[in-house]
Amino acid sequence: MKVYSGNFLKDVITRLLEEGYRVYAPVKEGNYHVFRVVKSADETDFDYINTKKSPKEVTFPENEILIKYGEWVEELPEQPDRLAIVGIRPCDVKGIRLMDRVFLEDITDPYYEAKRKNLLIIGYACNQAGDYCFCSSVGIKPYSSEGVDILVTNLNGRQIVEVVSDAGKELAANFELTDASAEDIEAKKELEKKVMESFTRKVDTENLEERMKRAFDSDYWKEVATNCISCGTCTYLCPTCFCFDIFDDGELKGVRIRAWDSCQFPLHTLESSSHNPRPEKWQRLRNRFYDKFYYMLVRKGELYCVGCGRCSAACPVGIDIAEVIDNVPSEVE
C-alpha cells in the first residue's frame, strides 16, 4: 500500500495521455457523471458515487463496425492499441470480468479481445454506498482490488495507491509513491468497515437458485411486470447485459454493425416465420431477472448482477431489481 501526495487519478490520466493511451474517465454532464474519452485530466471530475451509464462500452461499444463492405468485404476496422479506464468502481470491474466470460470463453470474439487485451484498469474504491447500491449482497467488496491494475482509495483527502498487476507496477513507477504508515493502513480498514455499513439495501441471495427455479411459473412475474413499459433502459445501463444485434447499413456499400440490443424488446426474438418465443411483456421481464440470477448462474456459475443499482435508479416505472429479487416467492402456489 502506497500513498501519493497529489491527485493520483488526474496525474495518471495526464501520464497515460502522454503515452498515447485512449483514456476513458468520468466527466460531469449536467447532474450526473459518465465515462467519456478525455483529452485532458481537466475534463474529469471524480466527485461521484458512480456513473449513470456503465463503462461496458470501453470493450463493447454501443455501436461497432464489424466489416466495411462493397461488393465483398473491403476493410475491417482498426482497433486501438492502448486503452485505459480511470476511476472505475469495483462493481463495474466485476462487470468487465463477467463480460470477459461471455466474449472470451468458448469461441473468442476478436473485436472484444482486441480492446480487452490492451485495457489498463485504474480502479477507484468506494467510500460510500449509493442509494441503490447492493454490491455487497452479490459478493463484491466496494473496495476490492480484484481485476484492476491499480486501485486508488481516497483517504481523508489523500490518495492511497495499491499496485496490483505488472502493468500497474510499470505505470506506478512513474510516480513518487511513499509507503503507507501503520496509521494509514488502520484508517483504511476503518474506512472499509464504514463503507460496508453504509449500504441501505441488501438482497437475500440465500438459496436463490432454488427459489428462482421454483418461482419460474409464478404469477409474481406478471405482477412485477404490470407497470413495465419494455423501454430497455435497464439493459442499456447494465454493466453485464451483453445482447447485441447485427445489421447491415448501406445497400451497395456500407458497414455491418453490431449494436446493443435488449431482451425487453419484442423484436429481439421475433422470427421471420412471425413466431415469437417471448411475445408477452412479463415473459421478457422475467427473462432479464432469470438471466442474471439463474440462467447465467447455471451456465457460468456466477450471478450476472454486480449490484450497481443503475437499473433501479433509472427505471421510469420504479421497478427495483433488489426488491424484485428479495421478494421472489419461496413458496409457489
Binding site: 464489424l66 466489416i67 463492405y69 462493397g70 461488393e71 465483398w72 468485404v73 475491417l76 476496422p77 482498426e78 482497433q79 486501438p80 492499441d81 461471455v102 466474449f103 468458448d106 469461441i107 470474439d109 476478436p110 473485436y111 482486441a114 427455479k213 419460474f216 451483453f242 445482447c243 447485441f244 444485434d245 447485427i246 445489421f247 447491415d248 448501406g250 445497400e251 451497395l252 456500407g254 455491418r256 453490431r258 440490443d261 431482451c263 429481439h268 426474438t269 421475433l270 422470427e271 421471420s272 416465420s273 413466431h275 418465443p277 427473462n287 432469470y290 438471466d291 439463474y294 440462467y295 447465467m296 447455471v298 451456465r299
Partner: protein, 281 residues
Amino acid sequence: MSEVINEPMKNPYLPYKAEIVEIRDEVKGIRPIKTFKIKLIGRERFDYQSGQGCLVSVFGRGESWFTIANSPTRPDLEFSILKTGKVTTKLHEMEVGDVVGIRGPLGRGFPLDEWKGMNIVTIGGGIGQTPLRSIYQYVIDNEKDYGDLTIIYGARTSRDLCYKDELMELIEQGYNVELSIDNPEPDWPYFVGFVPDNLKRIKPDPKDTIAITCGPPIMIKITLGVLKDLGFKEDQIYTTLERRMKCGIGKCGKCKLESVYVCRDGPVFRYDELSALLEKA
C-alpha cells in the same frame, strides 16, 4: 492501431466467399422455396455434421441462419430457403454465379455416430424437412451402419412438398417414404391428414429406434405426444429448434433459450435436454 484478423477461420464474424452453382425451385407461389447449391471459392468445403447450420450473408441485406440441407457425404452446401424477409428475398432474386458469404459450420449437429445400428425415423413438416433430408441422405450413403430408415413427411398441399423428385426416386428405389398432405387432392395416392396422424397410422416400433422431428412448432408438439404414446422415451427423440439468430457463435443472446444458446449448444437437441429447462422451447 492494430487490425482485427482478416481470416474467416480466426475471425468468426467474417464469412467465406462462396458462389451459387445451382438453384432449384422446390415450391412456387406466394411462399416460394428454392434450394441453393453453394460452393466455397478458393478453398475446400469444410467438414460438418447433419443438423449444423450456416449464416448465409448478402452484404447490404444481412445474414440469416439456415440448416444445411444436404448430407456431408454429398458435394457442396445446399440450403432450402423460404422467401420471407430481407435476406431471403434478395437470395430469391439471385442467379447462378452470384456471390454470397457463408459462416459455418455452426452449432451442434445430430449424433449420427451414436445412432449407428439403430433404426431411424424422420418426421418432417413443410420446410422443416431440411435437416431431416441431411440425415436420410447420410443414412442412405452409410446404409450398412444403420437399421431401417423411415421417412415420414407432409405438407399442406402437394405443391408445398420439398424435394419431391428426390423422394419419388427413393420410393421407386424401395425406400420407406410416407408422404402426406393436409387436405384431399385429386390423384393423391398417399395419406391425407396431418403429419402426426400419419405417424399414428404408421406406428414405428420404438425398439432400437431414434425418431427425429422437425417442422412447425405445433406439429412438433403433437408429434412428441404421439411418439410418447407409441412408447418412445424422451432420449430417443431429437429435434432442431428455430430461433432468431445473429452472431451464430453463442454471444449475441438472441437465440437464448433459458441457459442454452440454440446457435451454439443446438440447434439439435435431445428431448430430455429440453424438458429439463425451465423455459419451454
